[in-house]
Amino acid sequence: MDFELTKEQSMIRKMVRDFAEDVIRPRAVEMDINAEFPQDIFEQMGELGLLGIPFPEKYGGSGGDTLSYAIAVEEIGRICGGTGLSYAAAVSLGASPIYYFGTEEQKEKYLTPLAQGKSLGAFGLTEPNAGSDAGGTKTTAVEDGNDYIINGEKCFITNASFAKTIIVTAVTGKNDSGKNIISAIIVPTDTEGVTITSNYDKMGVRASDTAEVVLENVRVPKENLLGDPQKGFKQFLYTLDGGRISIAALGLGIAQASLEKALEYAKERKQFNQPISNFQAIQFKLADMSMEVELARNMVYKSAWLKDQNKPFTKESAYAKLYATETAFRAANQAIQIHGGYGYMREYEVERYLRDAKLLEIGEGTSEIQRLVIARQLGC
């Protein structure tokens, strides 16, 4: 066993950390207040190759592994949860399905600009009445000559307002046992009939764009169907398995940031003539936070490693997502507690960590769904 990162992985960590500290940190508070998506930061991230980490060079990627990508998400999440979420969604949900399931033509046409960071991707799965129950998708795609005509409504779609393509899930028919067949279709956002609005006023991850997508008689060529038309559901389950690793990494970054802020404050803040870090009540909190952050890190990295080794990782990525995001919430909550009244104020940032962490327990499979995934893997 070897717990050391490779030279490339530690260089990537250093580079992303420096970038996040220099470029993102000075704007994190303001982006949260204004709910402002930092398009210019994504352009720079694209130039640095961050949006193409896990994709091969021939599709404009950087030829890195899942672990390097997870490290990059962790480092960005450590500075800004919203930027981290948009990053994770762009790579794991917007671009990865095309890499996993796309035809050669689709990869060249759609994956390359995403991997190069020249455009942003989104994934439209959730609907007003289909969240955890993804099988309840109502959006339909009906064959018409060489096209599909898509009708439906998607909600809470990350990055959609800034995306050039959205991968949309839709019902394309029924199988022999009468169940809906769900397929994934690449929809360019400039297609007629696509309306994208971003009116959500979110609790956290406010630097990330979240939008509603309405599809009204949207006509796209049949060749935009992604992967096997019969296995759309299986495909996006696989996509979500991978997405979980990145959300877990994001939680890890927020948890790490919470620990750092709390430790720094505890050493500086004096009460009863001594730093509060001298008190066991505070020490126990910090010890628990530090332990949980490290345990989360081990699970996140292990699930990324399993994926890189082409081994099954469904259960482990659910462990990672569940544990790391709940760790993020607990760590942020304790960081506020350690800060006392100051922690409740925006400028100390830890209250933002809590608001950002909350989303991670909901998005890309709630904590409850993660437990179901794990239980199913156990054979229940």
Binding site: D18, S62, G63
Partner: protein
């Protein structure tokens, strides 16, 4: 153009540094490219992109220095040379490093050598100028601008906040000051490509040197951290009285006036 960069691995002085028994603790310390050397790497890449040629980054260090060299390769340097003294030398100083570099450059065709103005650990700023002297080439320290046209070189040099303009020629050695450029982040494709770029490892044997010739000319007597900053004092009362008190404190207590 044959461009060389002298690079040093240093402690990250923004991280906590622990000194015990007169030695800086290596365990857990973070190591980085000396920040002034990053300006040198960036400038070397820019000059190569403008004039063609090749950038070689050279360090005198140990096995772990490979990480900093790979980072320079990831930024865009073409080749790296690690002169590993780990097994041969107990200690060294600026003389040692200069002597090793002199031997290394003996058979090299050189147009331009760039180094950092100082290393942030020992901050002597000596290796660059001493090497230039040994190699018999002109040098300019603390440069903030470098323009090369044929063999003619226009340099702007920082002199305690003022600018000195120097006209000189290649071959040349310069040491780089803050303000010269903004070092780039190594890009992801850069990092992935760096592992395929050549990194040559040499020992002092390969340079026909032996340890006796390299014995340091200086002796380190003690290493200690600066004293912790004491709490400040806030003067109170009328401004006039405060000024009087301040002057009296400066005179009698801290004795700076």
């Amino acid at each position: 153009m044959n461009i060389y960069v002298l690079l040093k691995k240093t402690f990250d002085t923004e991280e906590k540094i622990v000194v015990s028994n007169g030695q800086i603790e290596d365990d857990g310390a973070e190591f980085i490219i000396n920040p002034y050397d990053e300006y040198a790497v960036e400038e070397a890449i820019k000059q190569r992109d403008a004039h063609g040629g090749e950038v070689t980054v050279v360090t005198v260090g140990d096995e772990d220095s490979e990480k900093q060299l790979r980072t320079a390769l990831a930024m865009g340097a073409d080749k790296a040379v690690l002169i590993n003294t780990e097994d041969d030398l107990e200690e060294g100083d600026q003389f040692t490093t200069t002597k090793i570099l002199e031997a290394f450059f003996e058979d090299k065709e050189v147009d331009l050598i760039l180094a950092g103005n100082v290393a942030i650990d020992e901050a002597s700023g000596q290796v660059g100028p001493r090497l230039a002297e040994r190699l018999g080439m002109p040098y300019v320290t603390t440069i903030t601008s470098l323009e090369i046209d044929g063999d003619t070189v226009n340099v702007e040099k920082d002199v305690e906040g003022d600018v000195e303009k120097v006209l000189t020629s290649l071959p040349l050695l310069v040491t780089c000051q803050q303000g010269l450029n903004d070092p780039r982040y190594p890009s992801l494709p850069g990092i992935m490509k760096a592992k395929k770029k050549p990194l040559e490892e040499l020992e002092i044997d390969d340079l026909d040197l032996d340890e006796d010739e390299l014995e340091p000319k200086t002796k380190t007597v003690d290493i200690f951290l600066p004293p912790e900053k004491e709490a400040g004092r806030v003067l109170e009362g009328e401004v006039e009285d405060q000024v009087k008190e301040l002057v009296s404190l400066l005179k009698n207590e801290s004795k700076v006036l």
